[in-house]
């Protein structure tokens, strides 16, 4: 250390600024190899910026934009895989197939109905819970109250969906309970119905509603509510005039996140839905089983789903407004 501290900056600048601060990573950064390669590169502002930007830009272009672009390209091909000597022609025929059959467009409509209703139900169910945690629970107990709501979500999509079966099956907990208290004689078919699918969707997505709502309500200053109460506003007026408008950003991002998630849910309808509740992801997935010559149609369907889902979310944000249009 003593030898290092004698090297003071200034005067004749040493070509290699000996780092007096380095105690843990010195060998590598002091080595001639480093100084002549990476060290030399980052000493120049332009090459430093290129190094900083290269990996992120290549990654985003390759992995975020590339696949969507590739999907769009394939959805416009008349034949795939591309054969030698036969130029593929650009066509909208794959998109036209979607409108030709109720078998194809009904699942998309169904997906929208389920996603929209699940979003609405989730908002109504989760809002009071988020409000309770953000405003009623004592601050020192708040993180514990929130943690209790987060724990079940670590189970993941598949296990959470599967656990719903234990509740709703013909000999599941709910039917057995209702039978034992004498309300029913024979089990009500709950599983593999629109009800079980909706129930499962809400169960799956409520966290994505909880977190944005919680952080929005948490930001509302408590003294605004106290002042309103002093001026004689009842609970309902306080909610309508203060809490609701000030939590609008949370509602927008929560609803958008939940809607976009439930539109793309794949395993849940397959495990909890019946033959009448085939949703669009399952329809799309059918084109990707087996030979790849059906991929253009599947890609076209996926583009239809992506564009319609993002457009709906964007329209919703525009209507409800709010300054923040960020989804995360």
């Amino acid at each position: 250390m003593a030898s290092n501290s004698t090297l003071v900056r200034g005067g004749a600048m040493p070509a290699v600024a000996a780092p007096a601060y380095s105690t843990r990573l010195p060998a590598l950064f002091n080595s001639g190899l480093y100084q002549s390669t990476l060290g030399a590169l980052v000493s120049n502002k332009t090459t430093r910026m290129v190094l900083l930007a290269a990996v992120p830009i290549v990654w985003i272009v390759m992995m975020h934009i590339g696949p969507i672009y590739q999907m769009l390209k394939i959805s416009l091909l008349s034949n795939y895989p591309i054969q030698h000597g036969r130029a593929p022609t650009v066509t909208f025929a794959n998109y036209a197939i979607f409108f030709s059959e109720p078998l194809y467009f009904m699942p998309l409509i169904r997906s929208f109905v389920y996603a929209t209703s699940a979003t609405a139900v989730t908002l109504l169910v989760v809002y009071p819970v988020a409000y309770y945690v953000a405003k009623i629970v004592q601050p020192d107990r708040r993180s514990k109250a929130l943690l209790l709501l987060l724990v079940p979500f670590w189970a993941g999509e598949l296990i959470r969906t599967f656990s719903i079966i234990m509740l709703l099956a013909n000999r599941g907990a709910l039917n057995v309970f209702l039978r034992d208290v004498g309300m029913i004689d024979r089990p009500i078919p709950l599983l593999y119905t629109p009800f079980s699918l909706g129930f499962g969707l809400v169960y799956l997505i409520s966290l994505y509603m909880l977190l944005p709502l919680y952080s929005a309500i948490d930001k509302i200053p408590k003294h605004l509510l106290d002042a309103a109460a002093d001026l004689g506003a009842g609970p309902f007026t306080r909610f309508r005039r203060i809490v609701l408008p000030l939590s609008r950003d949370g509602i927008v991002s929560g609803c958008s996140l939940v809607f976009l998630t439930s539109i793309g849910v794949f395993a849940t309808p397959m495990l909890l839905g019946g033959p009448t509740t085939v949703l669009f992801p399952e329809t799309i997935s059918g084109f990707f089983h087996g030979a790849s010559d059906k991929w253009p149609v599947g890609a076209a369907f996926a583009m239809i789903m992506l564009v319609s889902a993002l457009t709906t979310a964007a329209i919703f944000m525009r209507i409800v407004g709010g300054k923040s249009t960020r989804l995360m």
């Binding site: 000996a18 780092p19 590739q70 109250a145 296990i159 993002l310």
Partner: protein, 264 residues
């Protein structure tokens, strides 16, 4: 009477909260309870209780292989997503104005695009670059999904970092790489730790991307999905319970970790 009326909203909200907690925990608790049922079919009431399903699962070779495989995939995903995510966050943090916002929006795109769409577009993409389905493809898919979460966590921490820390390091003669490794990276530590645990959870849960990008080796969700479709048995509940306990422990540790590092 009057106080009762004034307390009514508070009581209703308290009940809403506990009702919601019950709603969240009930199915998972039922699933765990069913794994102890001493019969080969799923039906309530449970009647006789047994540990046999766990003994059976512990000797189930495909299950153990799927566990190892899932951990391998999660480890590789976490490694890749952390490096790329922090790199992107560094770029966004140093880019000002409109371009920073554009970069942020593009970086977060995979978190917004429905999982199904992302899985299919990646499936098409890897076939156009002649990459086979299998481990590398799954890791790529999971990484694409995990990166936005790392970016958001790292960026939040970077935005709270005093700018003069790096200035001081530069004044003392550190070049930008040294300053990054000696100042910025240690400061990012808690965010990176939290992000890594998040990546593990995301990767272990991911079903849809694995479904489209995977080869013949199943990950845990793939295995459980195949079992559920093949017929119900408390054995699946035992498997799911074990997975749930492990992911729950990882999540709880993450919570403990972030809270400890926040208070430091």
């Amino acid at each position: 009477m009057r106080t009762m009326l004034a307390d009514a909203p508070r009581t209703a909200l308290t009940m809403a909260y506990w009702g919601f907690v019950l709603y969240l925990f009930l199915p998972l608790t039922l699933m765990m309870a069913m794994s102890f049922k001493n019969a080969a079919f799923i039906a309530f009431p449970i009647g006789d209780w047994t540990f046999d399903w766990y003994l059976k699962v512990m000797q189930d070779k495909p299950f153990l292989e799927a566990c190892v495989y899932s951990v391998l995939v999660a480890g590789l995903t976490t490694l890749a997503a952390t490096v790329i995510g922090v790199w992107i966050a560094m770029l966004i943090a140093t880019t000002e104005g409109r371009w920073g916002a554009v970069l942020f929006a593009l970086a977060c795109l995979p978190a917004v695009v429905p999982g199904m769409i992302s899985a299919i577009s990646l499936r098409i993409f890897i076939s156009t670059i002649d990459m086979p389905t299998g481990t590398a493809a799954i890791v790529l898919g999971h990484t694409v999904h995990a990166v936005p979460f790392v970016v958001v966590m790292a960026l939040t921490r970077l935005r709270s970092m005093p700018a003069n820390l790096v200035d001081a390091a530069r004044d003392l003669g550190a070049d930008s790489v040294v300053a990054f490794f000696r100042v910025t990276l240690p400061y990012l530590g808690p965010a990176i730790g939290g992000g890594m645990i998040f990546c593990i959870l995301l990767s272990i849960d991911d079903f849809v991307r694995t479904f489209f990008l995977g080869g013949y080796r199943p990950t845990l969700p793939m295995l459980i999905f195949a079992k559920v479709q093949g017929g119900m048995s408390p054995e699946i509940n035992a498997m799911a319970t074990l997975v749930l306990l492990v992911t729950g422990a990882v999540g709880l540790y993450a919570e403990y970790y972030t809270r400890r590092s926040r208070s430091r």
